[in-house]
Amino acid sequence: MTYDVAIVGAGVVGGLIARELSRFNIKVALLEKLNDVAMGTTKANSAIVHGGFDAQNGTLKAKLNVEGTALMPVVCEKLSVPFKKNGSVVVAFSEKEMEHIKVLYERGIKNGVPELSIIDQAELRRREPNISDEAVGALLSESAGIVCPYELTIAAVENAVTNGVELIRNCEVKSIAENADGYVLNTTAGEINAKYIINAAGNFSDELAKMVGDDSIELVPRKGEYYVLDKSVGNLATHTIFQCPNEMGKGILVTPTVDGNLLIGPTALNIEDKDDTTTTPEGLRDALQKALKSVPVVSIRNAITSFAGVRAHPVNDDFIIGWCEKSANFINVAGVESPGLSSAPAIAIFVREILEEKLALTEKENYTDTRETPVRFRHLSDEERAELISKNPAYGRIVCRCETITEGEIIDAIRAPGGARDVDGVKRRTRAGMGRCQGGFCGSKVVEILARELGVPMSEITKFGGDSKIIYERTK
């Protein structure tokens, strides 16, 4: 198969680039080495849309963050992805830290961040009643928001696939050869030919670049650990609450998620193994202790789960986006750590503009820029529910009790373009299994529905692809 463009990596960056390119009359493949999209850094981060005051003036991070944050509500609206402009505060715990707040403010103004102001202790307390008594003031960034990063990616890919992009999963690029027509990608899903390659391989973008002789990308895998707290304490914070940043990142935050949970984290630890998403007792303890500094009433009793993500920290501290110097038609989109999610909508456009320098793009006539709104039974009124069930009885069976997710929604998630292939895929698309019982009751039902929809035995259904089997052979 020959494509005009092969995008390697279906995270939020690759997914939004795929959507952007699906507007044009070119053949695009989106290659993902795992069983689903959004499986790397995208699924395990702070889920924050940053104001844009943190990055140094003149960097790509600064430019794309401010642009991306402005685009985010629009993109989310089109893709029917919940976005909440909840605003963020960077809290100062001393007069010295207030000085740093002023530095951030000045930097933000230069970066072009709108709705930025410094607030005093009283105003901070008015906005965040649970904030620590030690807090003396804060930088308020009202354009900041929260979004679910994997939901955004899933929606972007679904929209891209609807517009003709081919999503190829379980497709790990092993090597790349160049010939007169472009590239031959040797993958675990066979050979794929492409005229252009866009390297959106996240933590592995350095390795992909090396396959075309480019060893200029220097990344340090940096692990962050998080706790997710129950929705019953989701209102302990209204804004995203940061502490003053340090050289390892923006520190531990306490934030509501767009789904109504409370999230605390991330820790920041440079590691060797890019796949090391294990949580550690020390890391989780650290996350909690530091979160208590901002919001002392946070309690671990309300934790429903914990997770760790690995972000690709670029040694030069800025995104690496542009033509590869060692190979003609290869674009690197590397080192996209925070504020990568915030920047992603702008990165997609920026990359398309770069591609246009060499590849002429004409717009499709039948392009649709919206994704059909998925059914969210839990948000409907009784009248809407009654009508829905009368049309399709599958919406009348609740599978996940904690989150009120129906069988109909699970079937939709599997049948959607680029739909779910495993239990975690169903969970990310529908929230089935994401509640308090963490799939204790509905897990086996989801396995059953997946097996039925995919036409395979239950024992072939995995948690997240690979060897992540859930059950084995038949009992005797």
Partner: protein, 417 residues
């Protein structure tokens, strides 16, 4: 809008017993709503025996125990809707539910019995460090895979928590050919019944490691092993005692939590210890006409006790519907000095019978005395050779004693070691 005298939320042992008892006591129109496709609740996957010794005086399997009640229910005119999920119980006792056939159902009830049962505490609540690989599941989920779906959930198993389901699954997995390496228990004592430790672990040579927990899980896709460690008296892992145990499955049996989402949404305050609604001696909650029984109220050791408690709620609901239930001033109960909680939390001063106070202790006590007091006076005391957190206890307070207590008095129950 449908109209019923009584709506029972949940068709497990609690819901069935409450409905049947209400019927027996003269309630005419009763509806039982069950979210699973069959009545019986979790008993349907409990194919081991040990049920019914107290209630029926014989040893039955879970499905047999449930089957007897299903049969009794079928012989009445009680309406049952299975595969039906209740979404809301409003303050006027209107119940909203959904299913595939009827769509959205609204039922106006005079009284409601909450009998939703309980769920298992998941891994996340424990914050075990490590990877998010497959092969980590609650014992109940594993039980469903083996007994209902007919699939093996693993071959080499470590079980964390010595709750009864964990113990039962240790035996079940062994019988199915899996190697159960050990059961780890954080506390210095087991949370399960003594008979289950003997019959499910000792008989099969499966070690029970007390004061031991799992501190990390390992494995990229499927679980490959766990790290266990001894814990100190503050339940913190002791450095240097870590041990790697290879296994492809970690089963959790670390506690049960009453499923009170509906109760909470309807505005009921939960007891901090039981995680169930606060009730009077007929299991009426703080909302008039709303009763709760079975594991949604407090987690029981034996289904036989669930049945007995639910019959009390059934009688209470019938009395309420007929306008015969006592109301008015109450006395309140409180567990102190080793007694963690008491159900019921309040008793009507004018109650019409003796009242059993159910409770659990917070630690193991040998040769102890249970003392019940009110306003500084001892009401009764009872000697016990052994008290442990895994076994629910009770004392009976005479109606004549309650009648003499002043309104709002506090009855305390304590352990004297």
């Amino acid at each position: 809008m449908l109209n019923y005298e009584l709506v029972v939320v949940g068709g497990g042992p609690a819901g069935m017993a409450a409905a049947l008892e209400a019927k027996k006591n003269g309630v005419n129109k009763i509806m039982v709503l069950e979210r699973a496709e069959t009545l019986g609740g979790i008993l349907e996957q409990c194919i081991h025996t040990g049920f019914g010794l107290h209630y029926f005086g014989e040893e039955l399997s879970g499905p047999e125990y449930a089957g007897r009640f299903i049969k009794l229910l079928e012989d009445t005119d009680i309406d049952v809707k299975t595969d039906t999920m209740v979404l809301d119980v409003a303050s006027d006792n209107t119940v909203t539910a959904v299913n595939k056939k009827d769509g959205l159902l609204k039922i106006q009830a005079k009284a409601v019995v909450l009998a939703m049962g309980c769920r298992e505490r998941p891994r996340g609540a424990l914050s075990i460090a490590g990877s998010r690989c497959s092969g980590i599941m609650t014992a109940g989920t594993a039980q469903k895979y083996v007994n209902i779906d007919g699939y093996m959930p693993g071959h080499e198993v470590v079980i964390l928590g010595s709750g009864d389901i964990g113990l039962i699954m240790a035996r079940r997995m062994t019988l199915e050919g899996a190697k159960v390496k050990m059961v780890c228990e954080l506390m210095p004592y087991s949370g399960g019944l003594t008979r289950n430790i003997v019959q499910c672990l000792d008989d099969f040579g499966i070690p029970l490691k007390l004061s031991t927990t799992v501190i990390a899980t390992h494995g990229k896709d499927r679980l490959e092993g766990v790290t266990i460690a001894k814990v100190d008296d503050k339940l913190q892992p002791i450095p240097g005692t870590e041990e790697y145990i290879s296994c492809d499955t970690l089963m959790l049996s670390v506690g049960l939590i009453p499923e009170n989402e509906l109760s909470k949404n309807s505005g009921l305050q939960l007891d901090m210890i039981t995680n169930g609604p606060r009730v009077d001696e007929y299991r009426e909650t703080e909302h008039a006409g709303v009763f709760a029984c079975g594991n949604v109220l407090q987690v029981h050791d034996l289904v036989d006790y669930v049945t007995q408690e639910s019959q009390i709620a059934g009688v209470g609901a019938a009395k309420f519907i007929k306008g015969e239930k006592v109301t008015g001033d109450c006395v309140y109960t409180k567990g102190i000095n080793g007694v963690r909680y008491i159900v019921p939390q309040r008793i009507n001063c004018k109650t019409d019978g003796d009242v059993k106070l159910y409770f659990r202790v917070g630690a193991v006590f040998n040769n102890a005395k249970i003392i019940v007091e009110c306003e500084g006076k001892e009401i009764l005391s009872k000697k016990k050779v052994k008290l442990c957190p895994g076994e629910m206890e009770y004392v009976i307070i005479k109606q004549s004693v309650i009648a003499e207590l002043p309104a709002n008095a506090e009855i305390t129950v304590r352990v004297e070691a």
